[in-house]
């Protein structure tokens, strides 16, 4: 279940000249569409489409107790669901390596950039804090899930509104306040795939089957790198990594304009 051999051969041959099967340039994304506020019951939500890839992201904010080592900080949790509905490659059951990696790469970018000011999510130090849960649901898998989920997470977080509290400090169900989450910077993961020695952005499913290595680079508003993740078995040269970083920073700036 890893692609069609003749199609991979063709994609590989095209890549040699820097061409792609759908006629895009190596550093060109498919069409991106972002809708926010699609789930009324969630504090924040977004539906992101990159080409035929579709991801639904929900942000839930709840009251919890802090971890003992960080009594005055809120908690960020993330998850990803790969539904069998999205692709015949996905199966039901406990999360597999792919979905754990997807959630962790998205999480790491946001966490390490301190994109959410967790200190501001503290209600009573050591007792009560806000927990922010971001959950990605893949609706259709046509490649480049990491970038789609990263984009959706940022869109959902930046439009999320804190829940309303009553006099006793309990959440009023079904109502939201006007207060946004304390977002300090926007983080976008951009995945660079290497196909037959060429670096390309936004690989489709068929291109993902063909690529031998991928590198995901998350960047902040100021262009600094906040997280990286390398996947698959191939090895990258220093020069390729530098090129990948340049591509990611440049594309990250373009993505920033969408939100």
């Amino acid at each position: 279940m890893a692609g069609i051999n003749i199609q991979k051969k063709y994609i590989s041959a095209l890549a040699k000249d820097g061409k792609r099967i759908d006629g895009r340039k190596p550093d060109e994304f498919r069409e991106i569409s972002i809708e926010t506020g699609v789930i009324p019951n969630a504090e924040g939500s977004a539906r992101v489409r990159i080409g035929e890839t579709e991801v639904l992201m929900g942000v839930k904010i709840d009251i919890g107790t802090p971890f003992p080592d960080t009594p005055d900080e809120g908690v960020l949790m993330s998850g990803a669901e790969l539904h069998p509905m999205a692709s015949r490659r996905f199966e039901t059951g406990p999360p597999d390596a792919e979905s754990i990696e997807l959630a962790r790469v998205v999480d790491r970018g946001i966490r390490e950039a301190h994109a959410i000011d967790t200190k501001k999510l503290c209600i009573t130090p050591g007792e009560k804090i806000w927990m922010v849960m971001i959950d990605a649901h893949v609706m259709n898998h046509q490649g480049n899930l990491i970038d789609a989920c990263g984009l959706a997470a940022m869109a959902a977080l930046s439009t999320a509104r804190m829940p309303k509290l009553d006099e006793e400090g309990k959440i009023v169900i079904g109502e939201k306040s006007d207060e946004p989450l304390p977002i300090t910077t926007k983080v976008f993961p951009v995945t660079v795939a290497r196909i037959n020695g060429r670096l390309m952005l936004d690989p489709t499913l068929e291109e993902e089957d063909t690529m031998d290595v991928r590198l995901t680079i998350s960047t902040k508003d100021d262009g600094n790198i906040t997280a990286m993740q390398k996947g698959l078995t191939g090895a990258l040269t220093m020069k390729e990594i530098e090129e990948a970083i340049d591509m990611s920073i440049k594309k990250g700036k373009e993505l920033r304009k969408l939100l």
């Binding site: 279940m1 890893a2 692609g3 069609i4 051999n5 003749i6 199609q7 051969k9």
Partner: protein, 271 residues
């Protein structure tokens, strides 16, 4: 046959008192007619005197058979269909094939032409994972298990070329009446094309990108009339802007199209 002619024929049918030729959209469970004079065809069922629709689609009557042509949907295997599949997995006694359907298919060892001694030969050497094959549906059991056979003169493994997927319901339109649409694309682009009934299309040739565009155009505008002429114009426009190649594989191409033409006749007969 052109679109115009088919319309004329349908009109004359209506004039003769047959059921209206208007493209009526029906929904599942909709009462189509309450008579024993007609037989329920594809995507319809009878209950008492009445015939109901099973799917969302266009109502069509041919002779005394009423049927629904679905507007969209998945591939439902039928015995005798020529389909294109991808080898998913190799098992002890055969290959599991992805056929672009809700069910996976299986090629048993008895389904290939040669005799295989599994002690001496690895099944990998016949078909490996990711290989693209063109085979015939041998069995489709009530428990939804699909068996494919390669013991057919047309069955083969594709070793190069490209593949595109289209909606299964648009396959008859892509082939056209007596294969008119597909042979037009073949002739114009000088491509080898094989259409699987499951919506997978294999193409090979120097103008395959134009052929793919034409195939996708047919898929997108399948419901419109006069499509053959528009595809023809599109192909002329696209190919006209390209310098003609010195040598085209005319001979082998004709041979090939003859071979696949027989397949289309078969498809036509089935409709």
């Amino acid at each position: 046959m052109t679109e115009k002619n088919t319309n004329d024929i349908q009109k004359s049918d209506a004039a003769n008192g047959n059921v209206s030729d208007e493209k009526k959209i029906v929904v599942p469970g909709e009462l189509l007619m309450e008579t024993m004079d007609y037989l329920p065809g594809k995507n319809c069922f009878r209950e008492g005197n009445a015939i109901y629709a099973k799917k969302l689609g266009l109502l069509r009557t041919s002779g005394r058979v009423v049927e629904v042509v679905p507007v969209s949907g998945v591939y439902n295997p039928e015995v005798g269909d020529m389909i294109i599949g991808v080898v998913d997995e190799i098992q002890n006694a055969g290959w599991v094939i992805d056929i672009n359907a809700p069910y996976t298919a299986f090629i048993p060892l008895s389904g290939v032409r040669e005799f295989i001694d599994t002690n001496k030969t690895s099944l990998n050497q016949i078909y490996a994972a990711g290989d693209l094959i063109y085979g015939k549906v041998m069995m489709f059991s009530p428990s939804k298990s699909v068996h494919i056979t390669m013991q057919d003169p047309k069955a083969k493994k594709f070793t190069d070329g490209r593949v595109v997927r289209i909606n299964t319901t648009k396959v008859p339109r892509l082939i056209g009446r007596s294969g008119s649409m597909i042979s037009m694309i073949k002739d114009a682009t000088k491509c080898f094309i094989s259409v699987g009934q499951n919506g997978m299309v294999w193409l090979k040739g120097e103008n395959e990108d134009i052929a793919i565009k034409a195939v996708q155009m047919v898929e997108e505008y399948a419901h419109t009339t006069g499509l053959t002429d528009r595809v023809d114009a599109f192909l002329k426009k696209e190919l006209g802007s390209r310098p003609a190649k010195k040598e085209s594989p005319k001979e082998s191409f004709e041979e090939y199209s003859k071979e696949s033409a027989s397949n289309e006749e078969y498809v036509e007969a089935k409709e």
